[in-house]
């Protein structure tokens, strides 16, 4: 069977690869959405945190012989702690000011972190191999899919939906959502709101680090790996609607698929298609597909 002059198996395989990339977009934009929702901070250092997640994983393997599975848990914790320090020391002072200040601070942090790591490790990056258990590949009939890629989709979707569940369906999530609406009132009910924002930032950053660990065996671990991705992820968040949890997950996956298709029909546009969609969405729904106008 042929669709647009392309065999259906080729099309299916491209969609599947799009889904893999979409999982990265979903989990990264989810972190951004969580942070923006509660802290009103546009976290431009998200790409750097993604990169830190990967590079910490590489370092642990290289210097301490700690394997991938341990790092899958440990790396987000380490980077999450870095995030907590950043929030306590720096971001905290900017909440009263315009969004722009938070953006500038986090952008500056990105340049700093990337610059330092580049001077140590160089720009061409470091190689990290997938764990033994996932190193093979499976023949799906229409394509041969490396097992590791399947794992990426599975684990990031699990984390995404777990996050969604916690925020939308549990009492902790209820506090979070209430804090987004009216922080003063939540505090009046005896909730330690400053602690909540700190932990939320730490968690958002940990999500970025988690996807960094997932990416390490796929793309070269390099100080620049985050900045290549972050702009697209921002577009994803804008399309989905700032602060919308489910919106960022669905948009992330959807745009991964659309990008995958673009790579088949007109590869040159694959880096632009997301932005074209962003423009169209902003024209018709300025708050994003899933966002609410405040």
């Amino acid at each position: 069977m042929e669709i647009f002059g392309l065999s259906s198996s080729a099309l299916l395989s491209q969609l599947l690869l799009g889904l893999v990339n979409g999982s990265f977009y979903a989990i990264l934009s989810l972190g951004l959405a969580v942070i923006f929702g509660l802290l009103n901070v546009i976290n431009f250092s998200h790409g750097a945190m993604f990169m830190l997640g990967a590079i910490v994983t590489w370092m642990a393997g290289q210097y301490f012989g700690i394997n991938y599975w341990v790092m899958l848990l440990l790396s987000p914790i380490v980077v999450g702690l870095v995030g907590i320090v950043i929030e306590r020391l720096l971001l905290r002072h900017l909440y009263q000011l315009d969004h722009l200040y938070g953006l500038l601070l986090t952008f500056g942090l990105t340049l700093f972190i990337e610059g330092v790591l580049r001077s140590i490790y160089g720009a061409s990056g470091l190689a990290y191999s997938a764990p033994e258990l996932l190193s093979g590949s499976t023949d799906l009939g229409f394509m041969v899919l490396p097992n590791y890629r399947a794992w990426v989709v599975f684990s990031s979707l699990t984390v995404c939906f777990a996050t969604w569940y916690v925020i939308e369906k549990t009492s902790i999530g209820a506090y979070l959502r209430a804090g987004t609406e009216n922080p003063k009132l939540v505090q009046a009910f005896g909730v330690n709101f400053p602690l909540m924002t700190t932990l939320t930032y730490g968690f958002g950053v940990a999500l970025a680090a988690f996807s960094g660990v997932l990416a390490a065996p796929i793309i070269q671990v390099s100080p620049l790996m985050g900045s290549n991705l972050i702009i697209v992820v921002f577009a994803v968040v804008v399309i989905g609607g700032m602060g919308s949890i489910m919106g960022s997950i669905i948009t992330g996956l959807g745009l991964g698929l659309i990008e995958g298709l673009t790579k088949v029909f007109y590869p040159q546009a694959s880096s632009t298609v997301v932005f074209a969609i962003m423009v169209i969405v902003l024209l018709f729904r300025p708050a994003g597909l899933f966002g609410r106008e405040k």
Binding site: A10, S13, Q14, L17, G18, V20, N21, G115, R118, G122, A123, S124, G125, L126, A127, S129, A130, S137, M143, V144, P146, Y148, R149, I218, I219, Q220, S222, L224, M225, N228, L229, G260, K263, V264, P267, Q268, S270, S271
Partner: protein
């Protein structure tokens, strides 16, 4: 500010009395512009700057009694930055000669400004053969390699192995196009066929989609018409998707720094065309050792080219007795280059530095004896066979 001004005067410049005007007292100023922070930074970047500094220091820090200064800048892979920086250097800072590094887009832009300002432009890092062909200039020298030489090395090497059908993964800008075009010419001329091409944006992170298309084409060779970080991620993904089992990968431009970054396990068997390898002679090993001490990595051919071309330029200034662009160019054209970089190299009228090129194959993990011991020599191409042959050139300077 990214611009750093490094004064390298070793000897203090004593006031020279009598007959020497103030204008002659101006230092010889070398401007070096390259990708200092992006995906090509390891190929050239700070290491390239270090190589130029080493050359200036080895030369003695002065020429014709003037001190030699170096200024450097990061063009961030943007042609407009490269052009405006060059203009500023020449107009305001009195830069005498411009050395250009990686990225063909920026190189073509710089060459244009340099020609307009009548300043010598020596490029070591960019690939595009247009620098000495369609867009050649009497002030441009393309020193280390070009896309024609790469095609004659790697593409020819594959054809000689009987692998005739190709699929290209091409970086979507001047360099990628030039490399693909030049390789295609070689392939067609020796009875091969290109079955398809995927053009990917510069600095792409995911190559799986293109690789799948390549696999579906059933071509025998996957030609990588990209460089640096893009080549690294292409090879990595090709291994992951098992493409290396059905297709042979020809990295049309692979640097030793890329092989190091990919890791020997994934890089083994790759063919690479290079102008220079650190382990090729006693002289090259000596230079590499000194470089290693400073940069903690082995020099790429581009960085070695930076050293060699700086020496070539300074020697020519000394021999010509002036830093006047036309006279120095004439001097450089009539002098053979014999140093740690090449033997009997010469600069042709179109600006090509004609010298031997080498086709290497990346060793298997068991063949590697020491760090950075990556290559075994497959064949040597003489400069006349590697670079554009005059009848094929569109450069008016060459055929008049």
């Amino acid at each position: 500010m990214k611009r750093t001004l490094i004064s390298l005067a070793v000897a203090a410049l004593a006031a020279v009395s009598g007959g020497v005007g103030a204008a002659d007292q101006a230092p010889v100023k070398i401007g070096f512009i390259t990708d200092m922070s992006g995906l090509y930074a390891d190929i050239d970047g700070q290491g390239g700057l270090e190589a130029i500094k080493m050359a200036v220091a080895d030369f003695g820090g002065t020429v014709l009694g003037k001190k030699i200064e170096i200024v450097s800048a990061d063009h961030q892979n943007k042609a407009d930055i490269a052009a405006s920086k060059t203009r500023e250097w020449v107009d305001q800072d009195g830069v005498t000669v411009i050395f250009g590094g990686t990225n063909s887009g920026t190189a073509l832009a710089t060459a244009k400004v340099a020609a307009e300002k009548k300043r010598i432009y020596i490029n070591n890092g960019a690939g595009t053969s247009a620098l000495t062909n369609e867009q050649c200039s009497p002030y441009t020298i393309h020193y280390t390699y070009d896309t024609i030489a790469l095609a004659n090395g790697s593409a020819k090497g594959m054809m000689d192995k009987g692998l005739k059908t190709w699929y290209f993964l091409t970086a979507d800008y001047a360099f990628g196009y030039a490399l693909e075009k030049d390789a295609t010419n070689v392939i067609n001329a020796s009875g091969g066929k290109v079955l398809g091409t995927s053009k990917h944006p510069l600095n792409a992170s995911d190559f799986s989609s293109y690789l799948l298309q390549a696999q579906n084409s059933k071509a025998q060779v996957l030609g990588l018409a990209n460089a640096g970080g893009d080549t690294i991620n292409s090879v990595k993904a090709a291994n992951e998707f098992g493409i290396t089992k059905t297709m042979k990968i020809a990295g049309l431009l692979v640097f030793i720094t890329d092989v190091h970054a990919i890791g020997i396990k994934n890089a083994q068997g790759l063919l690479a065309t290079e102008a220079w390898y650190w382990d090729q002679s006693d002289q090259s090993r000596k230079f590499a050792g000194r470089f290693m001490e400073k940069m903690k990595r082995m020099p790429s051919m581009v960085q070695a080219g930076n050293y060699s071309s700086t020496m070539t330029y300074l020697n020519a200034v000394k021999a010509a007795g002036t830093d006047d662009s036309d006279k120095v160019m004439a001097q450089m054209r009539k002098t053979k280059i014999n140093d740690m970089f090449t033997k009997n190299g010469y600069i042709r009228k179109d600006g090509t530095m004609v010298h031997d090129m080498y086709l290497f194959e990346v060793k298997t993990p068991s063949e590697v004896k020491s760090p950075w011991d990556y290559y075994k020599l497959v064949s040597t191409l003489s400069g006349e066979k590697a670079f554009t042959i005059p009848p094929d050139s569109k450069c008016a300077l060459l055929n008049k």
